[in-house]
């Protein structure tokens, strides 16, 4: 896949079909990749595709001027399609390089499984369904399916739905929805005061770095409501109540646009379990409107469109 990507990316740049390639390069932190954005053919050799390509790159097309060749996994492609539906990205301005994705490794889970610090790990190789983790003088084998992100368990579209060039053969979806929603379902069973206590604790940790908002492709407001200070909507400092309000409004704003890519939770430096909020909204939108984000670029976005059959029980 990696070689095919390099070949196609070089061709796109050489033929002038795109101004930039947006893909993944080797990171400077162990077992992390980093967005590689370039207009130079000599940088193409640095492109990688491996089980660590966590970032959702579809945030970039709305920001970088010119035509882009962009690498996307299944979930990322849905973010991109959603942006096309919202007229934030023009389909003709991008060449989509699709990566059929078997799942992305969650380093936190991997560390837990091997019971060692990531700094002790020298090499990780994927062999079939296993990851071979080489450490100083020892080796551990973990099941790939045990260390991927929760979102990957329930991924119904691992192969991008929208692409110009598919870089590998299609991957069949994992049917482990239960595993993907496990934490959320468990949470729903807890009584309301306990849930409230839980979120109070979570949002007390928030330092308002806004990484969740800034990495989110669906958060595309030109000026976020929290950055409006005349009048001020919420305080600029992080009381847990205001942190919660910020996140709830964000959650509602991106409902119907969230592809469950999980970048909000992955990026949160203090480990707030943000994906459960977003994922819950994915369920709600599907249940109420039978709508899935970013699966059809020609469909109108769910909340800009009215159907006579739309549920209206809330109007009393």
């Amino acid at each position: 896949m990696e070689n095919k990507l390099k070949e196609e990316a070089r061709k796109l740049l050489k033929e002038g079909k795109v101004d930039y390639i947006v893909g993944y390069g080797k990171g400077t932190v162990k077992f992390r990749t980093s967005p590689l954005i370039t207009n130079k053919e000599e940088d193409i050799e640095g492109l990688v595709i491996n089980p660590f390509i966590a970032n959702n790159l579809s945030r970039y097309p709305a920001e970088i001027k010119g035509k882009l060749g962009i690498v996307v996994k299944g979930c990322d492609s849905r973010s991109l399609v959603s942006l096309i539906q919202d007229n934030k990205v023009k389909r003709d301005d991008i060449v989509i390089l699709g990566v059929p994705c078997e799942g992305v490794v969650d380093i936190k889970k991997l560390v837990e499984q091997i019971g060692a610090d990531i700094d002790q790990v020298k090499e990780i190789d994927k062999e079939g369904d296993n990851l071979i983790v080489k450490m100083d003088g020892s080796k551990k084998t973990v099941l790939f399916g045990d260390v991927i992100f929760d979102k990957c368990f329930g991924c119904e579209y691992p192969t991008p739905l929208e692409y110009d060039i598919l870089l590998g053969s299609e991957v069949s979806p994992r049917v482990e929805l239960e595993k993907s929603l496990k934490k959320i379902k468990e949470f729903e069973d807890i009584n309301a005061p306990e849930r409230w206590r839980y979120w109070k604790e979570q949002f007390s940790k928030c330092i308002r770095c806004y990484a969740c908002r800034n990495v989110c492709p669906a958060c595309f407001c030109e000026r976020c409501f929290v950055d409006v200070n005349i009048p001020q909507w919420i305080t600029t400092y992080g009381s847990w109540q205001d942190n919660l309000v910020f996140q709830l409004i964000r959650t509602l704003h991106v409902a119907g646009r969230c592809s469950d890519c999980g970048e909000c939770e992955r990026s949160c430096p203090v480990g707030i379990t943000l994906r459960s909020l977003q994922r819950k909204m994915v369920e709600e939108v599907k249940g109420l409107f039978n709508y899935e984000t970013g699966v059809d670029k020609d469909a109108p976005p769910v909340f800009t469109h009215y159907e006579a059959t739309d549920p209206e029980e809330f109007i009393k």
């Binding site: 970039y60 770095c209 908002r213 800034n214 990495v215 992080g238």
Partner: protein, 337 residues
Amino acid sequence: MGYKKIKKDQLNTFLSELSKDYTVVLPSRSGGQVVFAPWDGKNTDFLDWYKNTIIPPKALFFPPVEEMFRFRKGEEGYEIEELMPDKRQQIIFGIRPCDARALKIIDMLFADTYKDPYYLRRRENSLLVGLSCNEPCDTCFCASLDISPGQSEDVDILCTDVSDNLLIEAISEKGSNLLSEMSGLSDAGSEEESKAKEMRKSAKEKIARQINLSGLQEKMRSNFENREYWEKASKKCMACGICTYVCPTCHCFDINDENRKKEGKRVRSWDSCKFPLFTRMPMENPRHEKWRRMRQRYHHKFEYYPMNFGTIACTGCGRCIRECPVNVDVTEIIGGI
């Protein structure tokens, strides 16, 4: 005073003794992250797993949110209720050499022309017990900034983990006075001392990441207008505030009055030059584009701070590299200038 030691499984008694006169704050796991928190009186297992916290110890002195005072409009003008930090003495146990240096660096600012009473009172009431790094992280580059992961002049007491023992060394007078009052410590032998020296040396050698600082300030000044460089460097940046908030030396803050009718409070909170709203309240943020904001952050740390205080405002703790969602790496950006 020579080196003292205590068996690691006896650390409990040492900490209990300290807890009599001080609030002991040490690394603990809470809500899925590692934070400095008041000791629970039992657990000392952090020695087995602790590397460093994500939120730096600056937060213990300069908290993310702080009420400065409350006010109320009375008949004869405003009544002010002061809200100064309490006077209880605290011990920060387990601070890493890089983070202790970071406090020294921001001391210069908080004790400059305007003496910040909130920060300084907490600093005066605190004693730092450092913990040497035997196993630095992959992201550490403190050695390039004249910091040795195994040594520190910036703490009051330094502990080094030497197999079954913690070797304890008084660094400041304050530290020396405290140690002389402590029971339960024994004198360390020369064998242990040389073992500690060895560990310190090997810890420093383990640090592979470097940052190139040679002629940096000159290079930065001539590169300032190089828009192409900064646009490229900032291309993948998501413009969030993680790097500034996990940085042990970033110290910018915002101040807001929150009032309702006749009463209110003045609150200070962390602010980040990576945000478009930064400095917008007084006038306007002159740095509209992302690349200008990124340039500002690096110039502040590596050019303006040395101009103002004679030291670089970076300690090589590596938090910004590790926590950045897109892996923007300060060593690459500074090295590329």
